[in-house]
């Protein structure tokens, strides 16, 4: 699990570890013995309550299931707007992220994407992103 006490301050164990892994191309989800997938940090499968959770690689590509272009952001994304937010289906899990590297207006349902950790232009914080396979 995470190295605590890193110089940048306290980490959110589980979540920051996941972002680290996603940045290295090894994003994972948690799978219970019954095969339910969920995102970390988690000790218990929300579907069935089983606690023996195992890390499994997130499939390499996902599909945009729904999206929006946000024009009025929270202060943490003030300089990023307008940006496209999407929910993408990666099979066992769905993930919410920002579609990167493309005009927000070309995002559509069914767009195939890969996970790509990006950075908020406003705060410099890491943000879960989706990189379209075809632009």
């Amino acid at each position: 699990m995470s190295d605590s006490g890193e110089s940048e301050g306290v980490q959110d164990a589980g979540f920051d570890d996941w972002v680290d892994a996603a940045e290295e191309g090894t994003a994972y989800y948690l799978e219970c013995p019954d095969g339910h997938g969920s995102l970390p940090p988690r000790r218990v499968c929300p579907e069935c309550g089983l606690t023996d959770l195992e890390r499994v690689d997130v499939p390499e590509t996902g599909t945009v299931e729904t999206y929006t272009v946000t024009h009025v952001p929270t202060p943490a994304f003030e300089d990023d707007a307008p940006y496209a937010t999407a929910i993408a289906d990666f099979g066992p899990v769905r993930i919410t992220g920002q579609v990167v590297g493309t005009d927000p207006d070309v995002v559509e349902d069914g767009l195939e994407v890969e996970l790509e950790i990006t950075v908020s232009q406003t705060t410099g914080e890491r943000v879960i992103g989706f990189d379209p396979l075809v632009r």
Binding site: T70, T85, Q98, E125
Partner: protein
């Protein structure tokens, strides 16, 4: 189940009063509620109080006792936080407390002070009702979350922005005679469609305003109402609550609200009514798409049909089942912690014939109030009936 009487209700005007404190707003609402009820403050046995963002907007936690004090009541007081459903869950527990015989009189309500945060600050504060790690840090806002649902609805069931625009137009029209409403101005479908985009496909006029305000209800047992000769023709006869996964992306449905469906099924069964008995509804229309999802979840419209209900006149004031005759969150305003209790106040007044829009529901006996928290990870539904 013994009905719980709505003996009195009080609302402050909803709107933009950044200089007024939460305690001042709740003091006003509760004073109106006590005067309306004829109940003495000293008879109150418990205070259930809803509030969501008090720590951020007023640097104030522990609001239960503070608000009991503001209301002039000496009784144990508890704050309920369930995002925008905060006072809906407070009312539900007040109903249980009275029903199980542990109290005869409960003061229940809620307050939110929001406009002092400004638009960006309030947007940030509202966002904490979503999953901080997996939604907020990805840049999702509340309008953004409902926009994701709207887009999913269009893809799954059809419909477009014009259908949503009719919801906003209807609710603005309903608010015209409501003196407590934040927006008392007519708008057109074109106004809605041409307004600046907040989060596509939702624009400025698809969204409820940021509001300050408070709501209070004096609820009593049947026995207390009889003993004190209270004029309280309307009772809460059913209560229900449903829940769903916190993050939208973890839900079974992106274009439905199962938590609200569960809440309504429970509330209808509790009251012994069904959707067909409902004469009038106040639903949680924080965004136009939210009203569409709500009326489908309540069984007032079939799934996929809600998008045309306002446009085709089924939910307008002169329709079969008027929805949001108060103006809804959209035009009346949405001080989030006050909203659930305020919806019950509106239904009680509509059924009692004391609401400026009561003429549209003359002879009505059954109303529902639907209050949602977050992207409907929480939902409460209450059934109110006229019981002479």
């Amino acid at each position: 189940m013994s009905p719980v009487r709505v003996a009195g209700a009080g609302l402050t005007p909803f709107g933009n009063v950044p200089e007024r404190t939460g305690r001042d707003l709740f003091a006003e609402a509760s004073t109106i509620a006590f005067e309306d009820s004829g109940v003495e403050r000293e008879d109150v046995e418990a205070v259930f109080y809803g509030n969501f963002m008090g720590e951020l907007s007023e640097h104030q936690g522990h609001q239960g006792p503070l608000m009991a004090e503001a209301a002039g009541v000496r009784a144990p007081a508890t704050r309920y936080e369930s995002a925008c459903a905060s006072s809906g869950v407070a009312v539900r527990d007040a109903v249980f407390r009275i029903r199980n015989g542990e109290a005869d009189v409960v003061l229940v309500g809620g307050t939110e002070r929001m406009t002092n945060l400004g638009t960006a600050g309030a947007t940030e504060a509202l966002a904490i009702a979503a999953d901080d790690l997996w939604e907020v840090r990805a840049g999702m806002t509340f309008p953004g979350a409902y926009a994701l649902m709207a887009q999913a609805y269009f893809a799954e069931y059809g419909g477009d922005r014009e259908g949503l625009a009719h919801v906003a137009v209807k609710n603005h029209e309903n608010a015209l005679p409501n003196e407590k409403a934040q927006y008392r101005s007519e708008i057109t479908v074109e106004d809605v469609l041409e307004a600046p985009q907040v989060s596509s496909p939702l624009g400025l006029y698809d969204s409820c305003p940021i509001s300050d305000g408070a709501a209070a209800l004096v609820l009593t047992s049947e026995a207390y109402a009889e003993e004190h000769g209270l004029e309280a023709p309307v009772a809460i006869t059913g209560t229900g609550q449903g829940g769903d996964r916190m993050a939208l992306h973890d839900r079974d449905y992106l274009a439905r609200s199962p938590a609200a469906s569960e809440a309504s099924e429970e509330a209808y069964a509790d009251a012994g009514v069904d959707a067909g008995d409902v004469d009038v509804a106040e639903v949680h229309d924080c965004f136009t798409i939210a009203e569409v999802l709500a009326i489908e979840a309540l069984g007032l419209e079939s799934v996929g049909e809600g998008i045309s209900a306002a446009r085709d006149g089924r939910t307008t004031a002169d329709g079969d089942t008027p929805v949001n005759l108060s103006g809804g969150l959209k035009a009346k305003g949405h001080p989030v912690g006050a909203t659930g209790a305020s919806q019950i106040a509106e239904i009680a007044a509509l059924l009692a014939g004391t609401h400026p829009n009561s003429e549209f529901v003359e002879g009505a006996t059954t109303g529902v109030a639907h209050n949602a928290g977050g992207t409907v990870a929480s939902a409460t539904v209450h059934v109110l009936e006229v019981i002479p």
